[in-house]
Subunit: 320 residues, 2 copies
C-alpha cells in the first residue's frame, strides 16, 4: 500500500509547479497572517455548546485562502496602493470582505461534505466537520458561518460600504449564484451536459464567489467603473480557470496531495471539463483562460495589478 | 381510526380560544395579503433546477406568519400610523423586514426537519421539504432562503435602514441567537436543564427571531429610544410566552391540529416548560408572561399599540 506522499510523487504533474516570485510570497504571507488573526477573533468564542468549536474547526488552520487573497489583491489594484497605505476605514472594509468570502466558502464546504450531498470524510487533510462533530452540529455550523459573514460586513465604521459589500456577497452566494450552481450540480449527475451548461453551472457554483471576491475587493478599494469592468473580466476568466484546473487535479492528483478525496467526480459520474474536453484539452483551456485573465489586467484602467497577475499564475499551477 | 378533525375536537383545549376582535382580523388579513404577494414575487422564479420550487414550497401557502405580523404591528406602533399612512420608503422597509424574518424562519424549519436534526416528515400539514424534494435540495433551499433574507433587506431605497435591519437580523439568526439556541437544544437531549438554562435556550432558539421581528419593525417605523426599550420588553416576554405555549400544545394537541408532529418533545426526551413546571404551572407562566407583554405596551412611549396587544393575546390563545 502506498502512502499519500509516495503516490503523489508517482503521479504525473498536471502542469509545472512554478515557484511564485519572492515578493508575491511575502505579500501573501503578510495578507494571510492578518486574515487568520481576524478570522480567529471573529469566530464565535461565545457560541454555545459545540457550535463555536465546529465553526472554528471548519475555518481555521486550513485552505488555500484564495478568495481572501483575491479580495486583497483586487483592493490594492483598485486603490493603487498597498494594504499598509490604505486609510483605516478602507483597510477595515477590505479585511472584513476577505474574511466574509472565506466564511461563505467554508460554510459551503461544510454543507457540501454532508452525507446527503457529497458524503465526504476528508477535507483539507482532516476529517470533515460532520465526521468530527456530528451531522446536526455541522449543519448548524454551516448555517452560522453563512450569517456570520454578513454580520462581519455589516458591523463596520463605513456602514454604506459594508451594506454594498454584503449585497454583492448575498447575490453571489444565493439562489442565482453558488446555491443555484449546486442545485444544477445535483441535477446533472449521470447526464451529459454541453460545455455551455457545464460552464453555466461552474460560473455559479464556484465562479460567482471567486468573482465576488475580486469585485468586493475592487469596491472596497475604490475602483472606478472602468477598473471594475476590467477586474470583472479578470475574475470571470480566473473563476472558470480555477474549476477547469480542479477537474484536472481530480483526475491526476491523489487524495494526500489534494487534502480531499481524489477521483470523486468520475466515481459520482459527474460531467467535468476533462470528461468533455479530454485531459489535454482541459489543460489547454485552462491556459487560454489564464491568458484572458492576464489580458484583462493589462488594459489601461488597472495599475498595480502584478499581484493579481501572480495570483492567476498560482491558480493555474497549483498542485492541490 | 380518527380523522385529525375528530381527535382535535376530543382534545381538551389548552386555553379558551378567544375570537380576535374584528378589527384585528381585518388588519392581519390585509397585512398578510401584502406579505404573501411580496414573498411570492421574491421567491426565486429564476432559481435553477428544483431549487426555486423547493424554496417556494418551504415558504408559501403555510404558517401563521406571526413574525411578519409582529414586524408590521411594531412598525405601526412606532410610527403612530397605520401601514397605509407610512411614507413609501418606510413602507418598503417594513414590508421587506416582514418578508426577511419569515424567510429566516422558513429556512430554520427546513433545516430543523432534516433527518440529521428532528427528522420530521410533517410541517404545516404538508410533507416536509426533504420528503418532497430530497435532502440535498432541502439543504440548499434552506441555505438559499437564509441569504435571500439579507438580499431583500439590502436591496431597498433606504440603504442605511436596510443595512441596520440586516445587522439586527444577522445577530438574531447567528451563533449567539437562533443557531446558538439550536446547538444548546442538540446538547440538551436527555439532560435535566434548570429553568434558567431552558429559558436561555429558548431566548436564543425562538425568542431571538421573535424579538428581532419586533425590534426591526420598531426601527423601520422610526421608534425613539424609549419606545424601542418598551417594545423590546414586549418582544422578550412574548417570545418566551410563545415557547411556553408551544410546549403546552405539544402535550395537549394532536398532529392534525398542529400541522406538525405532536408529542415529539416527550418522545425525544427533551426538557420542556411542561416537564419542569407541570401542565398547569406552564399555563400559569404563559399567562404571567402575557401580562408582562401587555404591561410593557401600557407604558408611556408606545401609543397605537392595540394591535401588538391583540397579537400577544393571539399567541397565548392559539390552538396550533
Amino acid at each position: 500500500m502506498q502512502t499519500p506522499m509516495q503516490s503523489a510523487l508517482q503521479t504525473p504533474n498536471p502542469a509545472p509547479t512554478t515557484a511564485p516570485a519572492p515578493d508575491f510570497s511575502a505579500w501573501s504571507a503578510a495578507r494571510l497572517a492578518e486574515v487568520e488573526r481576524a478570522l480567529d477573533a471573529a469566530l464565535a468564542p461565545q457560541a454555545p455548546a459545540a457550535l463555536g468549536l465546529a465553526m472554528r474547526y471548519a475555518v481555521l488552520d486550513g485552505g488555500k485562502r484564495l478568495r481572501p487573497l483575491l479580495v486583497w489583491a483586487a483592493a490594492e489594484a483598485a486603490a493603487g496602493a498597498p494594504a499598509a497605505a490604505l486609510a483605516s476605514a478602507t483597510h477595515t472594509a477590505v479585511l472584513r470582505a476577505a474574511c466574509a468570502v472565506e466564511l461563505i466558502h467554508a460554510y459551503s464546504l461544510v454543507h457540501d461534505d454532508l452525507p446527503c450531498m457529497d458524503n465526504d470524510v476528508l477535507r483539507r487533510g482532516k476529517p470533515t466537520v460532520h465526521v468530527q462533530y456530528g451531522e446536526a452540529t455541522a449543519l448548524l455550523a454551516g448555517d452560522a458561518l453563512q450569517v456570520l459573514a454578513f454580520e462581519l460586513l455589516l458591523e463596520q465604521p463605513d456602514a454604506a460600504l459594508g451594506a454594498a459589500l454584503a449585497l454583492q456577497l448575498a447575490r453571489a452566494a444565493g439562489h442565482l449564484g453558488m446555491a443555484g450552481g449546486q442545485a444544477i450540480d445535483l441535477a446533472s449527475v449521470g447526464r451529459r451536459l454541453s460545455l455551455a451548461e457545464l460552464e453555466d453551472m461552474h460560473r455559479r457554483k464556484t465562479g460567482a464567489l471567486l468573482l465576488a471576491s475580486v469585485q468586493m475587493g475592487a469596491l472596497a478599494g475604490g475602483a472606478d467603473a472602468a477598473a471594475l469592468a476590467a477586474l470583472t473580466r479578470y475574475g470571470q476568466a480566473l473563476g472558470l480557470a480555477f474549476q477547469v484546473i480542479d477537474d484536472v487535479l481530480d483526475v491526476v492528483a491523489d487524495s494526500g496531495t489534494l487534502g480531499k478525496t481524489a477521483g470523486k467526480d468520475a466515481a459520482a459520474d459527474k460531467p467535468t471539463f476533462v470528461s468533455l474536453m479530454g485531459l489535454n484539452g482541459a489543460r489547454q483551456y485552462a491556459h487560454d483562460l489564464l491568458a484572458q485573465a492576464h489580458a484583462a489586467l493589462h488594459e489601461r484602467p488597472v495599475a498595480a495589478a502584478q499581484t493579481l497577475h501572480d495570483l492567476a499564475d498560482w491558480v493555474l499551477h497549483r498542485s492541490h
